[in-house]
């Protein structure tokens, strides 16, 4: 030891793994018998989502199965993530409707502004989170897919507590 490094003997009870292992196992055992379990047996069991949950979108339809959207262009304007593509057109009756309506769910930040701004109550964010896909293209939802979604939609605010207090 040219520079005189001191080597200390450490007490065996400090360096033994036995105590740490027992402490850890103790915690596990305590949770095993704990009546307040939070683990949910997904997918057999599902958590109840908040009515204000904002997930993947859904386009509501009129009674005759057409989309409610009138292509006013407010949602692409308000969208902070710029994820909505809208091309307006005119149908045979002279009504304005979306020729193209696509939402890129990858870009979407699920702020819910589109639902809030929509004057026709057409586009909604949904109470839904199971949206895995086999390809990236699958995350660009077109109008047909948005209309085919069936999950419940976001309430935006709790009816019992509209001001969020």
């Amino acid at each position: 030891m040219p520079i005189g490094v001191k080597v200390l003997e450490r007490p065996i009870e400090d360096v033994s793994y036995v105590r740490a292992t027992l402490t850890g196992m103790g915690l596990t055992l305590r949770h095993l018998v704990n009546p307040h379990k939070v683990t949910v047996q997904y997918p057999e069991q599902r958590e109840q989502l908040s009515p204000r949950w904002r997930g993947t979108h859904r386009m509501l339809t009129t009674d005759d199965g057409k989309s409610k959207c009138v292509a006013c262009g407010l949602c692409p304007t308000v969208c902070p993530a710029n994820c909505i593509k809208l091309v307006p057109g005119e149908d045979a009756q002279g009504n304005r409707y979306p020729l193209v309506f696509e939402i890129d769910e990858f870009r979407c930040i699920f702020c819910g502004y589109c639902q809030e701004v929509c004057p026709e109550e057409a586009i909604h964010v949904g109470r839904h989170y199971e949206n895995s896909e086999y390809s990236r293209d699958g995350f660009v939802y077109d109008l047909e897919r948005l209309m085919a979604q069936t999950h419940p939609v976001c309430e935006m605010w709790d009816p019992a507590d509209p001001r969020g207090e």
Partner: protein
């Protein structure tokens, strides 16, 4: 001159000015619907009611002459209350279909309702509903949205002098009607769409195409004819969506013709040449700009050149082209042809018409010493280099074209497209079109007006002044031009008609060239 106080601001205006116009001069917008500076005063909408001190009741600002010492309150309690009442009554039958209305975002009813209107309606009765009517031409009428300001009726009656429109029926049933068997086919009728303060009169061409807040706007000059109406080019996602008039008291006042309004699709055409091309064997292949410029310069040096230019090019580009010709061999010349069309005046405005010359810079091309001819291809002499500068020769017959091709030894194309018959060109230099570039046009009265860039050019295409400056350098000219302003100042220094003009000095409404009425044919000595 009289002096009055509006909202605490003193303003001096000529005698006879309305309070509304005096307010504009003072920088105060008095809300109004039926008033329009280009139309006779009607005073029917009651929206411009203001409080004038020592006057027993509110006065309509559009129809009340300003008087010396008047004190006007625009936003006083009683004036606001009156206007709120007007708005409430206008909204009784106005559908709240702003989400599907084309005017949304640029609607004066929307603006003033947000600014001064009631928060909700007290009216419980059903709204009156009338079917949409096609007015002919480019105009469609949505009677439900109409607020009966009668701007359209007055325009057709006193400005277009083709009284097609009227107010039909009375009271609650009143709407704008057309006289029997007459359509809005006047060549200037499209202006009623612009005049309409709400979404009652809409352009069929623009219907449902874009929202007003989606669009970018650039001040420009109409490229349709030699009148040079001031316009705004509105683009959405780099595509021109519509053209609208821009006020210029000396040229077009507030109007533009339907032909000009709908003449924008060529600005979006897809078959553009987007890369510099040079000939390698049988084919034109894309190359770097330097290679293409060098190839063009080698072809032009010392040769006799006939340039066929477009009268739709800017003054700067035409000037630089003239300078290129001076660098080429002796007896080089430049010619241009102008597409012709029927002339259609707007009777209510002096000296305003769709001109027979359907090109924006005929005067500029003449000032730059290009020779006007009806048969530009006949000017090509045997053994010439044909320099085709964006000229549209599609009207020329096949025999004329093949004759010119047989005489021309080489072809150089500088332009937005390469026509099929010029596929044998030695080099092609892609240019930006007028919406993608900035520059100036000289209209038929010699007014030099600026237009600004509205969209970006395709791929490698470049503004004409920049391409020609590089070409001039390759030809040995000591010119230094890095911006369109420098191109213009090079022109102003060299050309007596443009002497003393500056790019900034042209402003929004332009400046008239020296000797505007008698264009001098300057053919020599305007180069460096």
């Amino acid at each position: 001159m009289i002096t009055l106080t509006i909202e605490g601001r003193q303003v001096s205006v000529p005698e006879g000015t309305s309070i509304l116009e005096a307010g504009k001069a003072a920088g105060i917008l008095i809300p109004h619907y039926c008033y329009h500076p280009g139309l006779p005063v009607a005073g029917v909408c009651r929206m411009c009611l203001v409080e004038v001190e020592k006057s027993p009741k509110l006065a309509p600002a559009c129809a009340t002459a300003a008087a010396d010492g008047q004190v006007v309150h625009v936003h006083s309690e009683s004036a606001l209350e009156a206007r709120q009442g007007v708005l409430e009554l206008l909204l009784i039958n106005h559908p709240l279909d702003c989400p599907v209305c084309d005017q949304s975002g640029e609607c004066e009813l929307q603006d003033y309702t947000y600014a001064e209107g009631r928060r909700s309606t007290r009216y419980r009765e059903p709204k009156r509903v009338n079917p949409v009517e096609d007015f002919g031409g480019d105009v469609v009428y949505v009677p439900n949205r109409c607020i009966l300001c009668t701007r359209c009726v007055r325009f057709m009656e006193t400005v277009a002098e083709d009284p097609v429109l009227n107010v039909s029926d009375r009271g609650d049933h009143a709407l704008i009607g057309k006289f029997e068997n007459q359509d809005l086919t006047h060549p200037w009728a499209g202006n009623v769409v612009e005049l309409c303060p709400v979404g009652a009169l809409l352009s069929k061409d623009f219907l449902n195409k874009a929202r007003s807040w989606d669009m970018d706007r650039a001040a420009s000059v109409c490229p349709g004819c030699s009148q040079g109406c001031n316009i705004v080019i509105e683009t959405r996602d780099n595509v021109v969506a519509r053209l609208r008039p821009r006020p210029n008291a000396d040229v077009n006042q507030y109007f533009m013709c339907d032909e000009g309004r709908l003449n924008y699709r060529w600005l979006n055409r897809r078959d553009r040449v987007a890369e510099p091309l040079v000939r390698r064997g049988d084919a034109l292949i894309p190359v770097d700009w330097e290679i293409a410029i060098d190839a063009a310069a080698r072809t032009l040096t010392g040769r006799r050149v006939t340039a066929i230019v477009s009268p739709g090019l800017s003054n700067e580009v035409l000037y630089l082209l003239r300078r290129v010709l001076e660098r080429c061999g002796a007896e080089s010349e430049g010619v241009f042809a102008v597409r012709q069309g029927p002339e259609a005046p707007l009777p209510g405005v002096p000296d305003l018409a769709v001109r027979a010359d359907r090109a924006p810079n005929v005067q500029g091309a003449e000032l730059m010493g290009f020779r006007r001819t009806d048969a530009p291809l006949d000017a090509v002499r045997s053994g010439d280099v044909l320099l085709l500068a964006d000229a549209d020769l599609s009207a020329a017959g096949a025999a004329v074209v093949s004759g010119a091709l047989a005489r021309a030894a080489d072809i150089i194309v500088i332009g937005t497209t390469v026509p099929a018959w010029a596929a044998g060109a030695g080099a092609a230099l892609p240019l930006a079109n007028m919406a993608e570039d900035e520059g100036t046009f000289t209209n038929l009265r010699g007014r030099v007006q600026r237009y600004r860039q509205a969209k970006s050019p395709p791929a490698l295409a470049r503004p004409g002044w920049s391409v020609l400056a590089d070409l001039l350098v390759a030809l040995g000219d000591p010119i230094v031009v890095w911006t369109p302003a420098e191109a213009f100042s090079a022109l102003a220094q060299a050309h007596p008609a443009f002497a003393g003009m500056t790019y900034e000095g042209l402003g929004a409404t332009g400046t008239v060239v020296a000797d505007a009425r008698e264009p001098r044919a300057v053919t020599a000595g305007i180069g460096a």
